[in-house]
Amino acid sequence: MSIEKGKISNQQLLFLVAGFVLGSVLLVDFTVGITEHQTWMVILAGLAITAPVILSYVVLAKKFPGMNLVQINDMVYGRFLGKVISIYYIFFFSMTLSFNIRDVGELYITFLMQDTPFIFFLIVFTATCAYAVSKGIEVLARVSHLFVVSGLFVIVSAFTLLIDQMDFSNFLPFFELPFIRIFQGIHIVSVIPYGETVVFLMIMGCLNKTDHAVKKTFSGLLIGAVSLLIVAVRNTAVLGRTQTIWTSTSFQSIRLINIGTVLTRMDFLIGIAQTILIFFKCSLFFYALVVALSQLFGLKSYLPLVLPLAGIEVIIAATVFQSPVDHAMITLNAGIIYSAPLIFVFPPLSLLIAKIRGLPKLERGKGI
């Protein structure tokens, strides 16, 4: 028996995935320091490399309809090992969530509201996420298209407003950087926006029909990837060489908007877009975290866990790093290493084992 009773449609899955990937717009900035003007390639290459892995997620979810990741793990790896792997996943969800919460705080503390205490943003933001999670996945899925549409609107309008300042020769020379840096960039991109979609294994169990899940997931992924691409292209074309020095590339490029000295100072555009997109991403992670944990403990409802976990996440987010530099260093080095097996190894492995053991059929007759 699954904890969540809400149902989501295939169409909503598309927007959920798109919104989730869009939630990583801020993280394009991470890779810029490494991959400079070749970031756009990295985003495309990352998608190409991650596509088969994501396919395995969807196939796995289709194989075990109505089940979430924790249940699948229990079934595939047995009670004990399954629990261990689930705990690993929960750790990953929790860490990623707190990193993302911290991102919002850093965004505000650096750019928009410098004099406000850092902890305030964390608390209020996490509280709002908790509110969203307490409403259930159905509500989040139903509003997902609004997040995607507003995110796209900001991204496209910022691109249009900056078109006169773009210098496309900034993309030249095409292949300059050493391959090791490109590889590093691809690794980051394939983990952070794309690979993190492993979180959907906690959500796809709620699908009412799994017929078009693959198509919809990949359409959503494509929307997200194209948006990331637009952002990366915009930043490189507008900022050129200087894009590597800023703490937030996107922010600086938006600050350059100047249409006839009337349309200036549009920082709020990116502020709003990034806040709501990261909010969406964080809510999904938060949801996955609470559901996974309550499934692990065998609770009937996940609601009692929301508040305590929100508190824990705020504390982690507030204390885990000293500064944005620290944050970037750890995420780029340790973060993507420890999460790699969760993203690239376990889901395909589960699929393989399930196939060998012929699992879901056997259990379906018993369970439901």
Binding site: P117, S169, L256
Partner: protein
């Protein structure tokens, strides 16, 4: 449903109070408490390592007074130039609060003017604050004063209340002459980061008039390795802008076909393309310029509105453009300052070879050869078909 509702209401209230209790005052600042800075000047302090920072602050009550009566009083200025010394710019900014009482608010800073001494000694060390400070915007203009930056700050324009705004306005409108162009903090930083490019920065001069001081842009200054190395006059700057594809409009004066008077052309559209070529260690820059202009004035009675005359004018204007470019290029060769950004262009096309070239760019640069191809067109003659002349 009811359970969820209660739960969410509870969690929200709890977090709301918790957050307020934990964070206390949340950093609100009323507009009354801000000193709105609209311009900044940085000078070198004599005989010391310190710098002198001059900030132009909006004087709020004198500025308009709501009903607008005070503006014709003329007596009081709408701005206040505060200056302070410090070992660094940020030090000076904070030092200034001793005088202003409130903290400076520099988000609306339009322009940063560096004094001549400072520019000669090196800007590299002072540019960081203007990019790093969260209140500074990358669109702030960077300018260099012919003498001291602080002298420029109180030259009052007759139509604009604030000198800094006036400067920003005329720099913003450089396109009418294309005798200089605006450089903002981001562009300047970008040039400094390339390693080979020598950025140009507009140079502000003062001319004494009967009614006071007027400021104008007398040319541009070339900065190499963060230091000021030379000055370019208006024509030379336009020579650079032709190559950089930054000419918007402007005036080209050529002699008329019969050499008796002048014809004045206004640039309507200009487009340029540079193709670097690297052959056997020899660098050739192929510059293609397409220009369209209109006949705006003539000082002879000769009828210029015919094929033959226009063709001649087109040739003459092409020649003028070529001369401007060559003058600028000669200057850059003398200064060994790559303000044409040829280095970047080479890098983009030949990035493998570039690594070797980069280190000895100063020696290679003067050997660059230019191949200029100019295509000019006169597309209209404005309101007159014929000049005002006794009919024959």
């Amino acid at each position: 449903m009811g359970k969820e509702m209660k739960f969410s209401v509870m969690s929200l209230t709890l977090f709301f109070f918790l957050s307020i209790a934990l964070s206390g005052c949340l950093g609100a600042r009323e507009i009354n408490d801000l000193e709105i800075v609209i311009g900044m000047g940085v000078d070198k302090e004599k005989d010391s390592e310190d710098i002198l920072l001059t900030a132009q602050v909006v004087k709020v009550d004198a500025a308009g007074g709501g009903s607008g009566n005070s503006s014709d009083g003329g007596g009081s200025k709408a701005f206040w130039n505060v200056s302070s010394k410090g070992s660094s710019i940020f030090d000076a900014v904070r030092e200034m609060t001793h005088k202003t009482g409130n903290r400076l608010f520099i988000s609306h800073n339009q322009a940063v003017i560096f004094g001549n001494d400072l520019a000669a000694e090196g800007l590299q060390d002072y540019i960081d604050f203007f990019l790093r400070a969260h209140e500074m915007r990358p669109t702030a203009l960077i300018l260099i004063a012919e003498k001291k930056a602080s002298d420029l700050m109180d030259a009052k324009s007759e139509t604009e209340k604030y000198p800094a705004m006036n400067i920003a306005k005329f720099v913003e409108n450089y396109g009418y002459t294309s005798h200089f162009y605006k450089v903002n903090m981001k562009d300047f930083a970008s040039c400094l980061m390339s390693g080979t490019t020598a950025p140009l920065v507009p140079l502000l001069s003062i001319v004494e008039e009967k009614e006071g001081k007027d400021i104008y842009v007398s040319g541009m200054v070339a900065i190499k390795n963060g230091k000021m190395v030379g000055k370019l006059n208006h024509d030379e700057v336009r020579g650079v802008l032709w190559v950089l594809d930054k000419v918007e409009s402007g005036v080209i004066t050529v002699s008329s076909p019969n050499e008796q008077g002048k014809a004045v052309l206004e640039i309507i559209k200009a487009k340029s393309k540079v193709k670097p070529e690297l052959k056997d260690g020899k660098i050739v820059m192929n510059i293609k310029i397409k220009e369209e202009s209109s006949l705006s004035e003539q000082t002879t009675t000769e009828n210029l509105a015919n094929d033959k005359a226009l063709k001649k004018l087109q040739e003459n204007s092409a020649e003028v453009i070529r001369q401007e470019i060559m003058a600028a290029f000669d200057k850059s060769r003398d200064l060994k300052a790559d303000f044409f950004r040829f280095g970047e262009m080479l890098h983009k096309k030949y990035h493998k070879e570039w690594k070797a070239l980069k280190d000895k760019w100063d020696e290679i640069y003067p050997t660059i050869e230019l191949k200029i191809e100019i295509d000019t067109k006169i597309i209209k003659t404005d309101l007159l078909n014929k000049p005002v002349s006794p009919s024959d």
